[in-house]
């Protein structure tokens, strides 16, 4: 209430980051098979360009993007395409999705990469297109095609490029390790993005619980001007774009607006690194750093993992699982995705693979809400989750929207602090899904109505045209008859 320039709410969950943050990024031994879903990004599914049995090289394009809002897919290693078909989806439903199965030959033969000259000499549009061709998506979990954001520079005035290294989710340390070990590449990537966006300044925001990363980034950015490394308070959800923008610029992103409407563009450090790789070395996005952690993992650490590696391989590389995990998650414990099995592959947006033990998830059966308002205090968006959930649970979605459902970022702070253990986020996701369905149904019925009306109008028009034609014909006929009639009538008259 008193601090308007800083984000409100938020929580301080136990970090659980120490163990994986202490070890350097390791390499995953190449698994025999890689499973590549065709849709690992927001937008349309990529179209496969290879056939089963084809031999491919590392970095070769496997599937192309059909639209602007999509991303192509490249071979993470050399080998043979074993199959193009249904593979396990990294999704709570456990459904199968379309994907490519690559049998690795272990030779890691690269395809010919076009290594560009000095990217700073090139036009921003060319560079943005190159990032699109490299299949780079938001690696912080948003999986939004990075090039779409880069092309905003041509449309909007971007004052600040915000490099998001806050990594507020518990357990995850990928960005932390990446900043410690590859700080120069990240700074270079950030400068390239600045060049593409024509941004005035770069701010690299890192939570103050990562002193090593802060120091490394400060050293790496020292030679260049207009790069500021900012320590932000460690408070979940600091890594959310809206909260980070508020913290750094003191401005709030307008509701229903985008970051660009306050002159900011946010990129995750992982994405920045991937863009650096694409623009400096021509390497497409075929691997990423993943935190493997959780109470059931023997040696939690970060691994550089080829996209498509099954989670089992990741856990094996970290000393295996000590016991049966109570929950497998892709991503962090706050916003991560429940996984039905260990057979799912790593996708571009996978920040972490967590195997949580029962004692790490103190969730009990839900009790009635006592309106303690802790969720209201914790909500970083200033919503009233208790009223939203009261409406959502009785399927009053409009009522839930009235209390802010549309502004909810699904961060889970409310569920985290709820003493009644009400699964608020679950209700919100349900309500949002139902609203989407309703909207789609409404669109469909609108479309049908329009089509019906159009048909009626067309029929009426045709009918009118027919009538007009008939009338014209009749008139013509009359006209032809007229002289005769005229003559005869004259005769009568006289």
């Amino acid at each position: 209430m008193f601090n308007f320039a800083h984000p409100r709410g938020g929580i301080h969950p136990a970090a659980h980051k120490e163990r994986s943050a202490a070890l350097p990024i390791g390499d995953l031994p190449l698994p025999p098979r890689l499973y590549l879903p065709l849709r690992q990004h927001a937008g349309a599914e990529a179209l496969p360009l290879v056939r089963s049995g084809d031999t491919v090289l590392k970095g070769q394009l496997l599937a192309s993007s059909p639209t602007e809002l999509s991303a192509p897919l490249h071979a993470p290693s050399s080998g043979r395409i074993a199959e193009i078909g249904r593979i396990h989806a990294p999704h709570p439903s456990g459904l199968m999705v379309n994907g490519i199965v690559l049998e690795c030959d272990g030779e890691e033969r690269w395809t010919d990469l076009i290594v560009p000259e000095d990217p700073f000499e090139e036009a921003p549009e060319v560079l943005a297109e190159r990032v699109a061709q490299a299949g780079v998506v938001g690696l912080g979990g948003a999986i939004f095609p990075a090039a779409v954001k880069l092309k905003q520079g041509a449309k909007h005035e971007i004052r600040t490029l915000l490099v998001n290294g806050s990594e507020c989710e518990p357990y995850l340390t990928t960005d932390d390790r990446l900043m410690c070990e590859r700080s120069e590449a990240i700074v270079d990537g950030a400068r390239l993005i600045q060049h593409i966006l024509r941004a005035y300044r770069i701010v690299i925001a890192i939570e103050d619980n990562k002193p090593e990363a802060l120091a490394a980034m400060r050293v790496a950015s020292k030679p260049y001007g207009a790069i500021e490394v900012a320590a932000v308070p460690a408070r979940y959800p600091m890594g959310s774009a809206k909260q980070l923008i508020h913290e750094i610029t003191g401005r709030e992103v307008p509701a229903q607006g985008r970051s660009t409407s306050v002159g900011v563009l946010v990129h995750n450090v992982g994405t920045v690194y991937a863009i650096h790789q694409a623009l400096r070395f021509g390497r497409p996005l075929i691997s990423r750093v993943v935190t493997v952690a959780g109470g059931c993992v023997r040696t939690p650490r970060n691994l550089d993992v080829p996209i498509g590696a099954p989670l089992q391989a990741l856990f094996d590389a970290c000393g295996g699982l000590t016991r049966e995990p109570a929950q497998l998650l892709l991503g962090g414990p706050m916003m991560g995705m429940v996984l039905p099995s260990i057979d799912v592959p790593v996708i571009k947006g996978a920040t972490g693979a967590l195997a949580l033990a029962r004692n790490e998830m103190p969730r009990r059966e839900a009790a009635p809400c006592i309106r303690c308002a802790r969720c209201v205090d914790a909500c970083p968006m200033g919503l009233m989750p208790l009223d939203m959930v009261a409406h959502a649970r009785v399927a009053d979605f409009d009522g839930a929207s009235d209390y802010g459902l549309r502004d909810c970022i699904l961060c889970g702070c409310c569920s985290y602090v709820c003493p009644a253990h009400i699964p608020l986020v679950q209700y919100f996701q349900y309500a949002l899904g139902q609203q989407d369905e309703q909207r789609q149904a409404a669109r469909k019925s609108d479309y049908i109505k329009q089509a019906t009306e159009a048909r009626a109008a067309r029929l009426a028009e045709e009918e009118a045209a027919r009538k007009a034609a008939k009338a014209a014909k009749a008139a013509k006929a009359r006209q032809r008859r007229k002289p005769a009639e005229h003559a005869s009538s004259k005769g009568v008259e006289s």
Partner: protein, 362 residues
């Protein structure tokens, strides 16, 4: 309700409803122990009876409503009974305790749908009902006679007072400070004189004055309240705005007419105002959820308390003020919500600060 969890978060701060309730009970312990000590065996009987019958009523209601019996363990029924006991005259007969508890839990809470659903604070609802139905028993106050002192009733006498309907002698009864003031003012006495002769701030702070079982010791109530505030189990807004409004109004009134009005210290330290501000008005179920709403709620309680104490028929006023504001809580929650991120106070999206440049720059 059993929900298969498919959505996060898979982390929790390990809080629970029962822990909140037990912390509040723990915070009530100092002033309760003091009350039991100064009012002796009859008070102990009354406290046990009220809490016990609240739990028993809750158990019966849960059974009748087919709700899980483990909800008895969430501590909310115990807390309701406990709070009710603290606001009763310490030597009240047993049926006041039992009747009050049955009313509080059965009608005040379970009839509305159980925990979290009640519109009114159950303990205050029961107290108000008792006060209207049995004004004599509810306003018979005893002078403090600490356990072990010469005048204190022993265990057997205590049972006789609580269960036997033994009439209290005039020598042991006395008026509460606010009740005394009311009487004296109607008799035409000057407020300054009353204050000088009958009121001592020290005894109000320590608690050696007649009054309800738990409301007398201002210091111990403050201690428990401070602990709850430190644990963030109660919010600071309601106590602050409530006490501030009473203090301001009392202070202004005294400046304006010292013959009719007593000062702020007098108001703050008597009549269960602190107990109400820290433990009763802060009941989360029946108070608003937003910060601004809580400030309004507290201020409303304070205003009503001052009005009823000054011009109304009841000297203490807490229960009525809280109940009245409870009724307004849904309204407050509807109209005073926090400002949403990215929206102005009226809920409209903020204006973009960046002009959208449609033309591509060269």
């Amino acid at each position: 309700m059993s929900v298969d969890i498919a959505a996060g978060p898979f982390a929790h701060d390990r809080s629970s409803v029962s822990r909140i309730m037990l912390h509040v009970c723990l915070a009530l312990t100092p002033c309760t122990l003091f009350g039991l000590y100064v009012f002796g065996w009859p008070a102990i009987n009354l406290w046990l009876l009220t809490c016990g019958s609240a739990l028993a009523t809750e158990a019966v209601c849960l059974r009748l409503l087919g709700q899980p019996m483990r909800r008895l363990l969430d501590g909310s029924a115990l807390l309701t009974g406990w709070l009710l006991a603290l606001t009763l005259p310490p030597w009240a007969p047993w049926w006041i305790a039992v009747g009050g508890s049955v009313f509080a839990i059965g009608i005040g809470k379970q009839l509305y749908g159980g925990i979290g659903q009640n519109l009114f604070n159950p303990a205050m609802l029961a107290r108000a009902a008792l006060l209207i139905a049995f004004p004599l028993q509810m306003t018979t106050w005893v002078l403090p006679v600490p356990l072990g002192s010469v005048d204190a009733p022993d265990f057997i006498e205590g049972l006789r007072i609580t269960f036997g309907g033994m009439p209290l002698l005039d020598g042991v009864t006395g008026a509460t400070p606010l009740g005394d003031l009311k009487t004296q003012l109607t008799l035409g006495h000057n407020a300054e004189e009353i204050l000088a002769s009958d009121f001592s701030l020290m005894s109000a702070l320590v608690g050696s004055i007649p009054g309800s079982m738990g409301e007398t010791s201002a210091l111990l109530i403050l201690l428990g309240g401070a602990w709850l505030l430190a644990l963030r189990i109660i919010h600071w807004e309601i106590p602050l705005s409530m006490l501030l409004v009473v203090a301001l109004l009392a202070g202004t009134a005294q400046l304006y007419n010292p013959e009719q009005h007593l000062g702020m210290l007098y108001h703050l330290s008597t009549g269960g105002l602190l107990l109400g501000a820290l433990f009763i008005a802060t009941d989360p179920v029946t108070s608003p959820a937003s910060r601004l709403g809580r400030l309004i709620f507290g201020a409303g309680c304070g205003l009503l308390i001052f009005i009823i104490r000054t011009w109304g028929g009841f000297p203490e006023a807490l229960a009525f003020a809280v109940l009245f504001m409870n009724a307004l809580t849904p309204l407050i929650d509807r109209y005073w919500r926090p400002r949403v991120y990215g929206r102005n106070a009226r809920g409209k999206p903020l204006a973009a600060t960046n002009r959208i440049n449609e033309v591509k720059r060269p």
